[in-house]
Symmetry: C2
Subunit: 229 residues, 2 copies
DNA sequence: ACCTGAACACCGTTCAAGT
DNA sequence: ACCTGAACACCGTTCAAGT
């Protein structure tokens, strides 16, 4: 409502790419990906639907720009925390984890737009730290891309979980409880493992588990380094 | 054209959930996710759009069922190859990699539908092998979910790459060449790492790198096991 | 140069009506 | 029980017309 004011008000900047992206982020945060439409956006900006196309190419461009705005800010914050490479990589991972917690649609967009700017920012932050660990050549490539893919995988899954829960109006506990109950009803002969971990589903700490996964990969990288030395 | 025949022909089974899923897979393979619409599907099946809703709940259900059909077949094949757990996990990973190569939309769907049947099949295949490596309790949970998230991350990224190239009619070399050229034009001060690996982008072997990532995580798991023993 | 807003070509989904 | 197909309520995008 408060944001619904006309931009013809005094002091109000005219329609710009930046203001469009800001409004898009607001809509995405409030109502998920379904909340971002050109009609809702033009209403919020107090303009016509077609005016937006003067500043952005299409909806893909808009989603990518919104995602990049969030990722750029997250990476700038994580890059500020100096320290040993391993700590820096953990900080980047946690920063992205929190960002996706606050903006679930970012995780979905990262999975959809490969090799675009948001991913490059993450790749640069991680890769430069892996290089600082003393890796180079093919080992550097392999270590960096394994970490990147793991982080993007968690990001996408977390985003999907959040979006699913949000669309059905469930809180985390209810959502995980529902999944756990479904898993418990699986055929014991075909799915013994999944049934056995159904109970753990509600108790685990997403964020801590995520960092442990990063540590596992870093341990694997270190083991190869030691073996080669 | 050949599939456009009416199902009132003699011997033709009546409309069923299975035939709808088969036709959906055909449309998805041919034209990507944009190719699956209820109009295209009903035309291909020689029926009305509304008839499909008698057999499936909605488009989400349809996409999930199509994804599950592909994943179920892939996992059944990978599960057949016995051997040490590490080999079995590699086989599952490679099987999924090939399946997503053939059906890029499967990777996108895996990223979107968390904790549904397709993911459970993968989780069961991997988790049971990690358990066979001697892990249990929290270590089992952490190892299994790290591997799962890594595999899903690669799956989603590969799917996005393929979909992007397919939508623009590019072959792999052209696509990677375009990305590499973009990366080479990045600001040298802000993106030294990404620029340094731009050249490697065209030469690397997706599939081999993917398996190496699995090995890195397995090495990390083994290192923790050794440290604890 | 920038904006308007009606119009276009689509979607997924529903539902009264048929068999 | 299963199918038809028109209708509904949306989309993203375009474009002649305005300022």
């Amino acid at each position: 409502m408060a944001n619904n004011t006309r931009r013809t008000q005094r002091g109000e900047a005219s329609l710009s790419r930046e203001s469009i992206i800001d409004a898009s982020i607001g809509l995405l945060d409030a109502n998920g990906e379904a909340g971002l439409t050109f009609r809702a956006l033009s209403e919020r900006l107090g303009t016509g639907a077609g005016a937006i196309y003067w500043h952005i190419a299409n909806k893909d461009d808009l989603l990518d720009a919104a995602c990049d705005a969030v990722v750029a800010q997250t990476m700038a914050k994580a890059a500020g925390s100096a320290g040993p490479p391993r700590e820096a990589i953990r900080a980047i991972g946690l920063g992205l984890f929190d960002a996706i917690d606050a903006h679930p649609w970012v995780g979905a967009q990262l999975a959809r737009a490969p090799a675009r700017m948001p991913m490059v920012r993450i790749l640069e932050g991680i890769g430069s730290r892996v290089a600082a660990m003393g890796l180079s050549g093919n080992a550097l490539w392999l270590g960096g891309s394994a970490l990147l893919h793991y982080i993007l995988g968690v990001a996408a899954q977390n985003a999907a979980n959040r979006a699913f829960a949000q669309a059905r109006g469930l809180v985390r506990e209810d959502y995980l409880g529902t999944i756990g109950a479904e898993w418990s009803r699986l055929d014991p002969d075909a799915y013994p493992f999944t049934r056995s971990i159904a109970a753990q589903l509600c108790e685990h700490d997403d964020s801590a588990d995520f960092v442990t996964g990063i540590d596992l990969i870093l341990d694997g990288i270190a083991a190869r380094q030691a073996g080669r030395a």
